[in-house]
């Protein structure tokens, strides 16, 4: 009955000479990719551009202190193994989420930091979105500022990239929208006055003016999923990590901006 109705409706449209848009979404050609930065007002760009004005730098400084603080049963600081983050962490965030052999799946940078705490330092993991986890993540990611985003293109990761892409393309929630409907097809438009943008995660964790805080990419993804009125995923859920991974492959080659500022 239902499909018959659709066929009738489509037939009517065809009869009326109305073109029907193809179902397949169009991915953004590499040359047309734009960081969220390029959509911002000059005042907001100025906040990101000036480290003394960028509130995200406060988390980076806290993260540096944590890097050098002893933690866990081993009494080791991050710096005791990794030495100077300026050298050892350079370019690392540009490759995350990355494959973890023991878990046989990708982990994001926050999860990697927590795995290091539990496995190496024998410390308790930080809670997702806690000040400490955001600070340490921001400090590590800031060492990659300017580095080209380069998630590993391995056979181990490929199925997880594919799952993330499937998530991005699939319609869900009461509003029946997929990420692609806005971020591939309508990135040059505005949702109630806000730029839609291309969903290229170049600067996480970001200082978001709407949050008045630093926040992770997963926090941002959960905001969008709530907006679609879809059932959300917990922080650290495999689905969110896979989506992060796919988004990083879309942003391949673009420079890391952490800590970015966004409206």
């Amino acid at each position: 009955m239902k499909s018959a109705g659709t066929i009738v409706a489509v037939a009517l449209l065809i009869a009326a000479g109305i073109a029907i848009a193809p179902l397949a979404a169009t991915e953004i050609p590499p040359a047309e990719r734009r960081s969220g930065y390029s959509f911002m007002a000059p005042d907001t760009k100025a906040i990101q551009d000036d480290d003394t004005a960028n509130p995200g730098m406060l988390w980076v400084l806290d993260g540096e202190a944590l890097w050098n603080s002893k933690a866990g049963a081993t009494g080791n600081a991050c710096a005791d193994c990794h030495n100077d983050a300026r050298a050892s962490m350079k370019g690392v965030a540009a490759r995350y989420p990355a494959y973890d052999k023991a878990l046989a799946r990708p982990v994001n940078l926050e999860q990697r930091i927590n795995l290091c705490r539990t496995r190496q330092q024998q410390a308790t993991p930080f809670a997702f979105e806690s000040r400490d986890l955001l600070a340490l993540t921001a400090f590590v990611a800031e060492q990659s500022r300017g580095a080209a985003i380069a998630p590993e293109a391995t056979a181990e990761l490929a199925p997880f990239v594919a799952k993330g892409r499937d998530f991005f393309m699939r319609r869900q929630g009461q509003l029946n929208l997929g990420c692609t409907n806005c971020h591939d097809d309508n990135w040059d438009k505005h949702l109630a006055g806000s730029a839609v943008t291309q969903a290229l995660p170049t600067g996480y964790p970001i200082y978001r003016l709407e949050w008045q805080s630093l926040g992770s990419l997963q926090r941002r993804l959960r905001n969008c999923i709530t907006g679609m009125r879809a059932q959300n995923y917990d922080y650290g859920a495999p689905e969110l990590v896979e989506l992060e991974l796919y988004l990083m492959t879309r942003a391949r080659g673009m420079p890391i901006e952490t800590p970015a500022v966004r409206p």
Binding site: A4, G5, T6, Q174, N176, K189, H190, G193, R229, Q231
Partner: protein, 136 residues
Amino acid sequence: MLALPCAAGGQELRPYTITGDAIVESLTGAPGDAVRGRALVLERTSTCILCHSGPFPEEKFQGDLAPSLSGSGSRWSKGQLRLRLVSASRLNPATIMPSYYRVDGLDRVAPAWRGKPILSAEQIEDIVAYLATLLE
């Protein structure tokens, strides 16, 4: 002409009949209230002006993902407006416009919204009544 079955689940949708590209009869059997309809269009939770703009000088933030609502009443009949609100995807499966009076065929709806249409039959009739007044 087709009569559509209604959704199982939390809330029973009222039955309606699609004729061509329109639902000719009011979902409630009564005409809507255009004044209430305008207020609903501007209400954030209705989601209309996230994507559409229109003759709303008091509203600073209006979307441009979809055509302006100005002139809707001269472009479409009330019946055509009603079907576009109830289920625009019946006319164009690729549309980004949500189906405002539908609870089936959706994936991973958040618990707070599950089994509920985005708008009630009364709200749809109010919005149809308002949009029909937008002649230019």
